[in-house]
């Protein structure tokens, strides 16, 4: 009874859009949920140790925003759990027991996160300061753990292990631990967690860059900018290494995805990498070729053979330009982040402060959204690059989708709800930012 039947689902496109859209929204909040608790605890710790009101104030203000974003993040994650079943019941019905274990473990991480965020936010000034500080630590740890486990499930979709398909087409010999510790897990999870620190750091620093552009350059803005941005900039060079690791993993396990990331048609020895350009008629037009670079990136060997899209049946090729553009943008932004980090490092070594240039706060303001773009692009690379498979070379997306009618209306409804929610999240965050600072921090209105 487990044979895979083709599904007649005219709304397949909407199902994919809905999944992509709700994941794309969730991941921003998830990154905040992983990194911002650490930033808040760091600021609170500095404040407690030095008695410095600037740090104490920053910690409190960030914590308020974190509380709001955590709530939105939690409910946006809940939707995803529903959607797994609502949109892809055949995938879940067939493989739920293979790939479900990490989600069950993740559930405990969610519990801890939610429990400690309640204690941390509402125990301020009520718990002894040390206890309060320590109550903040599990929030971030649990956030990172939940990312680890959910990426384990995603890694399994890219590198499905821990089961076999028996001759009658049924799933057999299930090993949930084997599925969880698939080979894609480590590079993906580490790349993801680093991304969270880049995104969280850049987003938290952004409003202080903005304030500086408007002429407010007190120590409060400097610290508010420097602490989160430093965290992000420590992660940035590591991210390059993790990205390289991820790329080499893709090269070995998902050659079609790698070929789409570059737009490589023919299998090539010493394959080039094109900067920019667009893929038409089986080649990249208008890009700047760099000889051998793709082989170097993918296999650390200029003479390595890289499989091209021609090796894959036309129906099983991912949409090249989407994947390729997303990948290029991610790498460009990642490289630019490295530049920003170097700039900060030089300024710090010279004058123990942030760069003096007018351009610096501008760059910081751009870095926030840019980090989010890199994040989304990375996921587009991974997810669209996996197409047409929901489980790499095991199950196609069109065989996984529900056969329920009219699912596009759910998508429309969700779009409307998310649009309204995004607007109000912004309004509430702006209001939180405008709450006046304590008097001791200066005479600002």
């Amino acid at each position: 009874m487990h044979g895979v039947l083709a599904v007649d689902q005219p709304d397949l496109f909407y199902a994919r859009q809905q999944m992509a859209f709700s994941l794309g929204a969730h991941i921003i909040l998830a990154c905040v949920g992983m990194s911002v608790p650490f930033l808040v605890v760091l600021a609170e710790w500095k404040g407690q140790r030095t008695g410095d009101l600037v740090y104490a104030t920053l910690a409190r203000r960030w914590a308020k925003a974190m509380g709001v974003l955590f709530a939105v993040g939690a409910v946006s994650g809940t939707i995803l759990s529903f959607e797994f079943g609502i949109l892809w019941p055949r995938w879940m019905g067939r493989f739920g027991d293979v790939m479900g274990l990490p989600f069950a473990i993740e559930g405990f991480a969610f519990f801890l996160e939610a429990i400690f965020i309640g204690i941390y936010l509402y125990g301020w000034d009520r718990l002894p300061p040390r206890v309060h500080l320590w109550a903040g630590v599990p929030i971030g740890i649990a956030g990172v753990a939940s990312a680890f486990f959910v990426v384990a499930a995603n890694g399994w979709m890219n590198d499905p292990t821990g089961f076999t398909i028996d001759p009658s087409g049924n799933v057999a010999r299930v090993s949930p631990w084997g599925a969880m510790f698939n080979s894609a897990l480590w590079p993906e999870a580490i790349h993801m967690i680093l991304a969270a620190f880049i995104v969280g750091g850049c987003l938290v620093a952004m409003p202080y860059g903005w304030a500086m552009l408007r002429g407010r350059r007190t120590r409060y803005e400097r610290v508010g900018l420097l602490l989160p941005l430093t965290v992000a900039m420590i992660a940035a060079p590591l991210q390059l290494l993790a990205g390289d690791w991820a790329a080499r993993h893709v090269a070995r396990h998902q050659p079609a995805k790698l070929a789409a990331m570059e737009g490589l048609y023919e299998t090539t020895k010493g394959a080039p990498y094109h900067l920019g350009g667009i893929y038409v008629d089986n080649e990249v037009k208008g890009g700047v070729p760099i000889p051998d670079l793709l082989s170097i990136l993918a296999f650390h060997d200029p003479n390595a053979v890289v499989t091209g899209l021609a090796a894959v049946p036309p129906g099983d090729r991912p949409p090249v330009n989407v994947v390729r553009t997303a990948f290029q943008l991610m790498v460009a932004i990642g490289t630019a982040m490295l530049g920003l980090g170097l700039w900060m490092l030089l300024a710090w070594r010279k004058r123990r402060t942030i760069p003096r240039s007018r351009w610096f706060p501008r760059v910081v303001v751009v870095a926030g959204p840019a980090s989010v773009v890199a994040l989304e692009c990375g996921w587009i690379t991974t997810e669209v690059g996996r197409q047409p498979w929901i489980v790499w070379q095991v199950m196609r997306v069109r065989d996984a989708v529900t056969d329920a009618p009219n699912i596009r209306f759910g998508y429309y409804l969700l779009l409307a709800v998310y649009a309204v929610m995004a607007v109000f999240t912004m309004i509430v965050l702006r209001r939180l930012m405008r709450v006046p600072l304590p008097d001791e921090l200066g005479e600002r209105a």
Binding site: G85, G96, V98, L121, T425
Partner: protein, 335 residues
């Protein structure tokens, strides 16, 4: 007891805890909705906000826990439930989104118009979500979700008498639990006026729940004979227990024994849920799918139970700490 039964039992415990904790949070939203204008409603709304703010997110996680256990341990039940009942489930999910974010937004807002908008959204979605989840339970319990890969009737599975009964019952029970808990909370916080107000609501909603339950007898007899048979046979002792605990709650409320009333109210709700489970056993989806058929691979069931055991070691102390701090009134910081 087989491994599959053990997993189903754990899942059912999680459903019951979700109903008791998150159910009360939803019920609090119901009382927020009917608390009256800005002036009259200020005191009850303040009590509601203080009582649920630090805990609702942790309470909500029980639902996630139920979902992931269902799809990991019983994938072939998860799939048809989610696809056949996708409409009420989507509406419940949207209610969850609106409730959570509106509540957080309200806490972070100062101005009256915004607070009002978020407040209404919070309160309205607090009714929508339990109604839809109750309707889902009604659809499952009345055997309207066919097992297998073909999606069932996406309308009839939840637009039927049993589902309406489930939805209404869920809303009423949430309101009842919330009112009982809030009475006890108000007493602990020394707000006699709120004690009286919520005690009245608790008694009122208990009576409504009783009436709905009696109507339910007729509805189920007519609309879901298998379920009715289960509830009146194997589930009967639990249903009797539930009725007894409900009456006891009324008596305890009358005698101002609020801490005990809280326990007996919880007992009543748990007994109904387990009565349903007992009545339906050994089926996951009547009439075609037994718990043992729906269960996933043996190795996975073992893994889940191991994970649950290990996770409980971490979870229980943290949960206990949260509730102790809550009961002591420590978690009343600014938030």
């Amino acid at each position: 007891m087989t491994l599959a039964d053990a997993c189903a039992a754990v899942m059912f415990v999680a459903i019951a805890v979700y109903a008791l904790l998150a159910g009360a949070d939803f019920g609090a939203g119901f009382w927020d909705l009917v608390a009256g204008g800005a002036e009259r409603g200020r005191a009850p709304r303040a009590l509601i906000e203080e009582s649920i703010a630090p805990v609702w997110e942790a309470n909500h996680v029980w639902l996630i826990f139920v979902l992931v256990t269902l799809w990991t341990a019983f994938p072939t039940a998860f799939a048809p439930i989610m696809s056949t009942l996708y409409i009420p489930l989507t509406l419940a999910a949207i209610g969850i989104i609106l409730r959570g974010s509106a509540f957080a937004f309200r806490k972070a807002s100062e101005t009256l118009p915004l607070r009002r908008l978020f407040g209404v959204t919070f309160a309205f979605s607090s009714v929508l979500t339990p109604f839809m989840l109750g309707a889902v339970v009604g659809g499952i319990a009345s055997g309207r979700v066919p097992a297998g890969e073909q999606t069932g009737d996406v309308l009839g599975s939840w637009l039927n008498l049993t589902s309406v009964l489930g939805g209404v019952m869920a809303v009423v029970v949430c309101a009842f639990l919330a009112a009982v808990y809030l009475t006890a909370d108000a007493e602990r916080r020394d707000r006699p006026e709120m004690v009286r107000a919520f005690r009245r609501r608790a008694i009122g909603s208990a009576l409504v729940a009783g009436v709905v339950a009696l109507a339910g007898v007729a509805v189920l007899n007519h609309d879901a004979p298998d379920l009715f048979h289960g509830l009146t046979h194997r589930g009967a002792p639990l249903i009797v227990l539930a009725a007894g605990a409900g009456v006891a709650t009324l008596v305890l409320l009358g005698r101002s024994e609020y801490a005990l009333a809280r326990l007996s109210a919880a007992l009543a709700v748990v007994a109904v849920l387990f009565g349903w489970a007992a009545g339906q056993y050994p089926y996951m989806l009547e009439p075609g799918l037994r718990i043992s058929d729906a269960a996933g691979a043996h190795a996975t069931l073992v893994a889940i139970l191991v994970v649950l055991g290990a996770g409980a070691v971490v979870l229980v102390p943290a949960l206990v700490w949260l509730f102790v701090l809550m009961q002591r009134g420590t978690l009343a910081g600014e938030g």
